[in-house]
């Protein structure tokens, strides 16, 4: 079964440093997402990306964050100047275009990158 892959699985960084989290979405998917989950809390939406631009973003996704699809396969989340409260599990997800049956609405999540800011 096709899957979303994320690298690295764990990342430790010092406060104030920049980090880039990488994702390879499922190849025929056109919608890409980042979510995060702080330990013991809910999964929170950060941003969605379609047709090489951000389509929606949450209040969490401020100027510190950016996303990019640098080539035909990768999707990245960059966090500039990390803060302690950015420590969380970051999940990438992708989905098919709308109208592709009921499964077109299903989001496939990666295994996540655990980011620890020290």
């Amino acid at each position: 079964e096709p899957e979303v892959t994320q690298t690295p699985s764990h990342q430790v960084t010092q406060m104030g440093q920049e980090v880039i989290l990488r994702c390879v979405p499922i190849s025929n998917h056109l919608y890409f997402y980042w979510y995060r989950q702080i330990l013991g809390q809910k999964v929170e939406f950060l941003v969605s990306f379609y047709n090489n631009e951000i389509s929606e973003k949450s209040e969490i996704f401020d100027d510190q964050f950016s996303v990019e699809r640098p080539d035909g396969s990768n999707f990245t989340l960059k966090i500039r100047s990390t803060k302690l409260e950015d420590s969380a599990m970051y999940f990438c997800a992708s989905s098919e275009p709308p109208g592709v049956g009921i499964r077109g609405t299903e989001a496939f999540f990666g295994q996540g990158t655990r980011l620890t800011v020290v």
Binding site: F45, E56, A93, E106, Q111, R114
Partner: protein, 114 residues
Amino acid sequence: LAKTTQPISMDSYEGQEVNITCSHNNIATNDYITWYQQFPSQGPRFIIQGYKTKVTNEVASLFIPADRKSSTLSLPRVSLSDTAVYYCLVGPVYSGAGSYQLTFGKGTKLSVIP
């Protein structure tokens, strides 16, 4: 988005059928009901989705009464590997902005006991 309420936790013995009910009194006409499963340190995984009546797939069944103000996820004959958090999500399938933003609640932590 419609607010959802589901039990914080449930325990079940192996081999039993588990029913997790979710209340969504303010569900809108164009809202669908979707359930995701999350194992520890993994991303959520889609289980099932429905609009009304009953939906069944190889993993679970979803029962939705006529008024759609609640839904019940049914897991037949659970095993230890079904121990996970189960999320009920209610919202439009297509947000209109070219994406399907998912809003997760706290979910129901299901513990399957040997």
